[in-house]
């Protein structure tokens, strides 16, 4: 079986699975899987860029996805004038002062000669900077959070169209990746892993606790949408008529219409990224990246700046994850920092890349769809399996109750098994790198 046939067959399988869900369960469920599958595929491509092309081990995907989500709030929500009046300017001055003192420390360490004087100056700058920052920051934050805390209590966003938030999410993630890359990329692979794991936790902690920024765990609901609302569609006589001509009732038709709209938007983004990735993979740049991955020393001897290239690809890959994160939050219509968990947003993406085939863009897309399908469907399947196993037991049996209640946790187990089996028997994935 040659590669084209295999690729077509595997993508055909994905199509059958999703269409099967449509026929067996509901078309809403099928489109739901398709939409999140598209987003997962984009995330997987971002990780594949880092791991598959450059061999960089990033386990902080959750943080970049979270930053993308933050971008949607900052860009699309209407600003809260009262909060800006209360302390909006002061809080930015405080943050600026904080950044300034950090910059001063870095400058001092770079310019001054090593010795006791430098150490003293560093500490004085750090302590003074932190004290001034807190003196400015605390009152401003408290003032902002007091503004209508039940609904607002944060600065709000810029009130721009939410589609603009997608590239901004990518930019935010790229900025974070630049900072991490600058500090951690020179180190060994394990250290980069731990560093990214840590920074992801910190980003989520900031999103949970800094209420003035995006309301923290109180969540931001009702993000603007790039598509019409179901209610408006149902009120539109033209739409109802068209739905009737397809033999659909207005409610189902409107939900399908909105979901399909998202599918189209996401597919466009996916295709653009896939096109760019394929072009770069087959360009001199892509060959250089793989050369670096396969033998850093040889590439360095050829005059390639390995550290800079690593930084570049780390930023690009993280930006793609940020973009996907913004798309996901747009789809959800709300930002809920409490729901970001590393198993779901970091390690699941890794399963997708490994199963799909690292180093192959189509493989990542395939992995994204397949694993997301599995992730969604394992739960009903697990429940079904448990009912089958416990059929012989009488109702009310403690073990039966426990097994039925635990069926939801089959997911993680299944994902781990899928990953281990793949790594053992087909370590290069379903669609291996050519």
């Amino acid at each position: 079986m040659n590669d084209t046939v295999k690729t077509t067959a595997l993508f055909g399988l994905v199509a059958v699975l999703i269409l099967g869900t449509g026929v067996m369960q509901s078309w809403n469920a099928a489109l739901g899987i398709l939409n999140m599958g598209l987003i997962s595929a984009i995330m997987a491509m971002g990780v594949n860029l880092q791991w598959g092309f450059a061999g960089l081990f990033n386990v902080g995907i959750m943080g970049f996805v979270g930053l993308g989500g933050l971008a949607t709030v900052l860009v699309s929500m209407p600003p809260v004038p009262a909060a800006w009046a209360a302390g909006g300017v002061n809080i930015w001055i405080a943050l600026f002062v904080g950044a300034l003192s950090l910059a001063a420390v870095i400058l001092v360490r770079a310019r001054m000669a090593k010795g006791n004087t430098r150490a003293v100056v560093t500490w004085v700058l750090l302590i003074a900077g932190f004290t001034i920052y807190r003196e400015l920051f605390d009152p401003a934050r408290d003032a902002i959070e007091k503004v209508n805390p039940a609904l607002e209590g944060y600065l709000g966003g810029l009130g721009l169209p939410i589609l603009l938030a997608w590239p901004v999410g990518g930019l935010l993630a790229a900025g974070a990746a630049w900072i991490i890359g600058k500090t951690a990329l020179g180190l060994r692979s394990d250290y980069l892993a731990i560093a990214t794991l840590g920074i992801a936790e910190i980003i989520i902690a900031i999103m949970k606790n800094e209420d003035w920024l995006a309301r923290g765990v109180k969540n931001v609901n009702g993000l603007p949408r790039p598509l019409p609302y179901e209610i408006d569609l149902q009120a539109d006589p033209n739409f109802v008529e068209r739905a009737a001509s397809f033999g659909l009732d207005p409610v189902t038709a409107s939900t399908l219409y909105v979901k399909l709209g998202y599918s189209v938007l996401f597919t466009i983004v996916l295709l653009i990224i896939l096109f760019l990735m394929q072009r770069s993979l087959h360009s001199p740049w892509g060959r250089m990246m793989r050369a670096i991955r396969d033998n850093e020393d040889a590439a360095r001897a050829m005059g390639k700046n390995v550290t800079r290239r690593h930084l570049q690809i780390f930023i690009l890959g993280s930006a793609i994850c940020g973009l996907a994160g913004a798309m996901m939050t747009t789809l959800d219509g709300q930002l809920t920092p409490g729901t970001y968990q590393p198993l779901r947003y970091t390690f699941l993406i890794w399963v997708m890349v490994i199963v799909g085939g690292s180093g192959n863009n189509l493989g990542s897309v395939l992995g994204g769809f397949l694993i997301w399908f599995l992730w969604v469907q394992v739960e009903p399947f697990g429940r079904w399996l448990m009912e089958l196993i416990t059929m012989g037991m009488e109702p009310g049996n403690a073990l039966r109750e426990h097994l039925l209640a635990s069926a939801a946790h089959m997911r993680l187990l299944t994902m781990g098994l899928v990953m281990l089996v793949m790594l053992r028997f087909s370590p290069r994935g379903l669609l291996p790198e050519k």
């Binding site: 061999g55 081990f57 386990v59 932190f130 807190r134 605390d138 500090t183 951690a184 180190l187 060994r188 692979s189 394990d190 250290y191 892993a193 731990i194 560093a195 794991l197 840590g198 920074i199 936790e201 910190i202 902690a205 949970k208 606790n209 968990q341 590393p342 198993l343 390690f347 890794w350 399963v351 490994i354 209640a405 635990s406 946790h409 089959m410 997911r411 993680l412 187990l413 299944t414 994902m415 781990g416 098994l417 990953m419 281990l420 790594l423 053992r424 370590p427």
Partner: protein
């Protein structure tokens, strides 16, 4: 008087909790560092190994409690601990045989083993949630305090009380015993010496007739014991929740790296460095400052450097600072 009050206050809220937490981290980091030294990869499944060991111990504890067995003032979990260690050891040995051995034979790159350990992490995490559920479980019993705040106040006549929980005392005592036993094992027994030889130079160790599979098996058993002890102590001190154990991975790794990966002594030092920094930086110093400073200078705010929710950030920042200025850690670890 004020000085004594300040000291007691700090002991109560900073030293005692930090020493207990530091011991738990040190035990966890010892496991990570042993695997790194012998098997040469960072084990992402370590947090979930801890959770698994603790889960088994919790289940056995409940069984013992239902039989009416107890240790008096000490928690029953101590009786259940050997069972937890045995089951966990069996699990990790089995995992090694069906999963890791294949890659070891292939001489796979360390990063592949790290990815494999991610798969193991998923499976163990799923297993724990499947068996005991994702919720908080309490299994501590026996006497709650070695010394209560009120008794302490009556005894000394100070304004501030010092409370030491049984779990905290137990943590420190157990950690000291376990670490002493481990170092004795590594330094004085034949197997321990062969482990250190294998860690220092694999080829030389193989040449001198050391059986690598035996070294690896002993390492896994030690890791299972350390992980279970650390997990149970943490669970007694706080409470058992699978997700918390997964999150412990970050401070544990930070401890191991700060101390120097592969160095057992470093793991212990790293554990205490991380624990003390986390506690002191997230502690509100207002009251302590109130005792020490004249009234006119008493602070308005809480004098808390960072909110408690940012404690992960503390371990991370220390990690980065150490990596930047001393890449092999405080005690010279290895770098692969």
């Amino acid at each position: 008087m004020d000085i004594l009050n300040t000291l007691v206050l700090l002991a109560n809220f900073v030293f005692v909790p930090a020493i207990a937490y530091g011991s738990q981290l040190a035990l966890g980091a010892l496991g990570v560092t042993l695997i790194y030294g012998i098997l040469r990869f960072s084990n992402f499944a370590h947090g979930d190994t801890m959770a698994f060991g603790t889960m088994v111990t919790v289940l056995v504890t409940w069984l013992l409690q239902s039989w009416g067995v107890s240790l008096g003032p000490l928690p029953t979990a101590l009786l259940a601990l050997p069972f937890g260690i045995a089951v966990t050891a069996a699990l990790v040995l089995w995992t090694d045989r069906v999963v890791y051995k294949f890659y070891r034979k292939q001489k796979a790159k360390p990063v592949i083993l790290v990815i494999v350990s991610m798969g193991v992490m998923f499976v163990m995490n799923g297993l724990v949630r499947f068996i005991i559920g994702p919720d908080d479980q309490r299994f501590a019993d026996g006497e709650r305090f070695i010394i209560g705040a009120r008794e302490f106040k009556q005894m000394t006549g100070l304004d501030e009380g010092l409370a030491i929980k049984t779990s905290q005392g137990l943590t420190v005592v157990t950690a000291v015993l376990v670490v002493a036993a481990l170092f004795w094992f590594l330094n004085h027994t034949r197997t321990g010496k062969s482990m250190r030889a294998y860690s220092d130079n694999e080829d030389l160790a193989l040449l001198s007739g050391i059986n690598p599979e035996r070294v690896v098996a002993v390492t896994w058993i030690l890791v299972a014991a350390l992980a279970t002890v650390a997990g149970v102590l943490y669970g007694l001190d706080k409470s058992f929740k699978p997700f918390t154990y997964f999150q412990l991975l970050l401070p544990i790794f930070a401890s191991a790296i700060v101390g120097g990966l592969g160095s057992p002594l470093g793991a212990i030092a790293g554990g205490f460095v991380i624990a003390f920094s986390e506690v002191t930086i997230t502690y509100a110093w207002k009251k302590a400052a109130g005792y020490m400073l004249p009234e006119s200078l008493a602070p308005d705010g809480l004098m808390q450097l960072l909110a408690v929710d940012y404690k992960f950030a503390v371990s991370f920042v220390i990690l980065v600072v150490v990596l930047l200025f001393k890449p092999t850690g405080l005690f010279k670890g290895k770098s692969v």
